[in-house]
Structure formats: structure tokens, C-alpha cells
Amino acid sequence: MADSPKKFDKKSRYTEARGLPGAFEGETVTRRRFMEGTALAAGGIATMAFALPGLGFALGPIFEDTIPTRWQDVGPEGDFNDQSYVPRVMNIEPQIGDAGKTTIYVRKFNTDQDKVIEGQDKQPYVVISTRCAHLGCPVRYTQASQKFLCPCHGGVYGFEGNVEAGPPVRPLDRFYTRVTNGRVEVGDRFSLNSQFERFSPRDPTNHLDGLWQYLYPSRPTT
């Protein structure tokens, strides 16, 4: 009498009943499969052990404030008036020599004409950043036309740094100012939208009007 072929239950918990090679009674996982899993898990843990710290190391600076507040003296109050801008050099990143310096344009706040920027204490001085709001080229102030002109792609800004022509998406950034012992000091950068509402510093290209401001959020680095 021939044995009927052994029936395997494909859905059984037990490896023996499923007819797997190398199965032992009572096992739900074969040792081969268990070793496979262990080796893969060990490899995965070892990889993560160096990959995650490495990634954190590379990405860490985007969660840090990299530009601490430093108040920089730009000259005595007598150097500036409320009708025209005076160029000054400011050190944005002191560790990299000339590459860390930038030109700023300084004038006295004109109480008759200038808008007081919303959400901000009245600033004694207006300090305009020369970083174009289009792609970051340095703009230059032309006294004859009372405009800021960008050499790269033709951005034109008015006397207040408001966009008058060309591709820039928002007015020129400004810096906080204060007066200490009769000397003008310049602090952190801040950005403005076309309504002259104040924002934390944003990169050039970042729109700040209407819904755009939510697509270009405030970042920990600024």
C-alpha cells in the first residue's frame, strides 16, 4: 500500500507543517530565515549607526542661528542726514575676510516722509541692505535718480528700497539701528514685503506678499 503524498498546510504557523526545508517541530520561523533577518538587522543597525550621525552632522547648521546679533558702529550721528544715503561697509561674516563684508546705505529716518514700519519700534536710522531681493547681487545707489540699481538683471528700487521695476520680488532688506553715545550702530537684518510689513530675514527670491509668505517660512538660521 503506497503512502499518500504528505499534505502540507501552506497557511500553518509551524514551519514543519508548511514543509519548509530545515524545519523543526514547534518552530514558527526556520533558523535559516531567522539568521537572514538577524544579519540584515545587524547590517541595518550598523549602517544607521554611522549614517544618521553623519547626516545630522551635515544638516545640523540649518537648525542653528548662524548669525548672532552684533551691533556694529558705522560712524557718528553727524555723518548722516535724512535726504541722501551714505555708503558704509559692514562685516556680516567676520571669519572670511573681504568676502564677509557688505556695503550698506545709511540715512536718518525722515519723520515727515518715511513710513513707520509695522510691528517695529521707530528706528532712528534707515539702513538699506545692498543684497538685491531678486538673486542677491549687490545693488548700487544712484543719488541723481535717487534709485537703487542692480547690475545683474535690471532690478530698480526707489528711495525707500521699494521695487519700481525689474524682477525683484520684494523691497530691499533693512537692518535694525540704534544710537549709542552719539554713534550709529547697525544690528540684525530684517525683510519687508511690498506693504512694508516686517518679517524675519528671508533669502532673495522669497516672496512675502499674501499667501507667498507661508511658502517661504522663517528659518532657524536667521
Binding site: 572670511i96 568676502a99 536667521t222
Partner: protein, 274 residues
């Protein structure tokens, strides 16, 4: 077991003995009449080394399959653009390694070290020139290769994945251009990089963070140039080399396509039936 013969050029292959020559050469029937010439010894030596390596690596069947694979009728010079791009990359890698021996990725010294390479180091101007112009050559070649693939329809089934890998390689090659442009650290490269990083910043939500990653902060800082340097000489070329390997594997595995103007030949069998 008889091992397959290594794919040597004819000059290096051991020729079968001619009748009558055999006895003298191996000296079976008495001493050899003539000593082996230096040329014979050199051929023997090279063949011995190649045979030794082949016996231990089994490389020759693989190399024969890879280098002597059959290509379709109509294969022409346009099919060399991919190899040309790869050799441009290899030239960039080699010249880049040598430039790295003199270059200092420090914002206060980068410009000086780059001009020292050009003006003082022996052959420095030449090696830097090869790297500088070679980058342009590589970008031109990779786009010509991409155009060839597109216009010959070589991206179609079953080669879609190779097209995708190729597109990633194009992007990585452009990233090499972007990260390398900063390194001379003159006015042009500084401002071009400022503009390029701000372009990255224009992407909604992630863009500003990407720009922060590239600059190491919200402003161009003391480690920006080191980051660009590390991306330029380690991360991106490593990825490019790995993907070139995958790209070539798929080319060898799937074969190349015939140019689109060649029609498939009718089989003789069909002619007979008509």
C-alpha cells in the same frame, strides 16, 4: 578542464607550433637548436602573467562578453558619445585629484592657492586648464549623448531604467559644475554661487532650507567653501562613478539599439514561403 583563452591581441598569443619546429622548441628530442629570443621571452612572460590573473579571476569570459559583444548593424560614431563622456569624467577625476594636492578650500586662502596652481606650480596651468575646459567638454558630451539616445529612440523598452539613470547622471554632472564653479573663489565664482544658491532658495518651503544647507547658514560663511569642496570632490563624483557602473552594466546586459533608419531584415524563411 580547458580554460578559455584570454582575449589577447594576436601579437601576444602563443602561436601553435609549426611542423618540425615543435621538437626544437620544447627540446623534447634533444637540446634546442636556438635559444629563445628576447621577444619570445617577453611574449611568454606577458602571456604567463595574463594567464595567471585570468585563472584566478575568471575575468576573460566576462571581458570577452563585455568588450567583444555583438552590436547591431548600422552602429556608427554617434554611439561613442557615451564612452566619450565617461572618458571626460575620468579626465576630470584624474586632473581633480592632482589639483586637490595644491588647492586649499579655505575662504582666505582658496583664491591664492588657485592662482598659485596657475602661476607657480609646474604644469599647473595646464592641469587646471584641462579640468576647467574638460568640465565644459563633459557637459557638452553628456547632452550630445542624451540627444543621441533620444533621437535614436534608444530610451524605449527595455531601456527605460537606463534613461532614468542617465538623467540622474546629467543632474549630477550639472551639480559638479555648480559646486566646482565656486572653488577658484574670485569675484565671478563668488557672485555666481551667491546667485545659484539664491536660485535654490526660490523653491517653496524646502528651497530656503536647501540654500541654508549649501551655505551652512543664512549667509555665505567660513565653511561654505569646504562644503562645496566636499560635495565637488567626494560626494557627487562617488555617486557619478557608481551610477556609471550601473549604466554600463545595463548597456552590456540589454545591448544597444540599431539606428532608427535601419529597417529589420526580412527572414529568408518568409521569402521562401511567398
Amino acid at each position: 578542464m580547458k580554460l578559455p583563452a584570454p582575449p589577447l591581441p594576436k601579437a601576444l598569443r602563443r602561436s601553435p607550433p609549426r611542423p618540425g619546429q615543435d621538437d626544437r622548441k620544447n627540446g623534447r628530442n634533444g637540446p634546442p637548436a636556438t635559444k629563445p629570443t628576447p621577444k619570445d621571452q617577453a611574449v611568454e612572460g606577458v602571456a604567463g602573467v595574463v594567464g595567471w590573473l585570468d585563472e584566478r579571476t575568471g575575468a576573460s569570459p566576462f571581458l570577452r562578453g563585455f568588450l567583444y559583444r555583438k552590436v547591431p548593424k548600422g552602429t556608427n560614431w554617434y554611439y561613442t558619445l557615451g564612452s566619450a563622456t565617461m572618458f571626460a569624467f575620468l579626465a576630470q577625476a584624474v586632473t581633480g585629484v592632482f589639483l586637490a594636492m595644491y588647492y586649499e578650500p579655505d575662504p582666505t586662502r582658496a583664491y591664492e592657492s588657485a592662482s598659485r596652481i596657475t602661476n607657480e606650480v609646474f604644469l599647473g596651468e595646464f592641469v587646471r586648464g584641462m579640468h576647467r575646459w574638460g568640465s565644459t567638454v563633459m557637459i557638452i558630451l553628456i547632452f550630445l549623448h542624451m540627444g543621441r539616445t533620444f533621437f535614436f529612440g534608444a530610451y524605449k523598452y527595455p531601456r527605460e531604467l537606463n534613461w532614468v539613470i542617465g538623467v540622474v547622471l546629467v543632474v549630477l554632472t550639472l551639480m559638479m559644475g555648480l559646486t566646482g564653479y565656486l572653488l577658484p573663489f574670485d569675484q565671478r565664482s563668488f557672485w555666481a554661487t551667491v546667485v545659484a544658491v539664491n536660485l535654490n532658495s526660490s523653491g517653496p518651503i524646502v528651497g530656503p532650507y536647501l540654500a541654508d544647507f549649501l551655505r551652512v547658514g543664512s549667509e555665505f560663511g567660513p565653511t561654505t567653501i569646504a562644503r562645496f569642496y566636499a560635495l565637488h570632490m567626494l560626494a557627487v563624483p562617488g555617486l557619478i562613478a557608481a551610477l556609471i557602473g550601473a549604466h554600463l552594466y545595463l548597456v552590456a546586459k540589454l545591448g544597444t539599439t540599431a539606428p532608427p533608419w535601419l529597417k529589420a531584415e526580412k527572414k529568408d524563411l518568409l521569402k521562401e514561403e511567398v
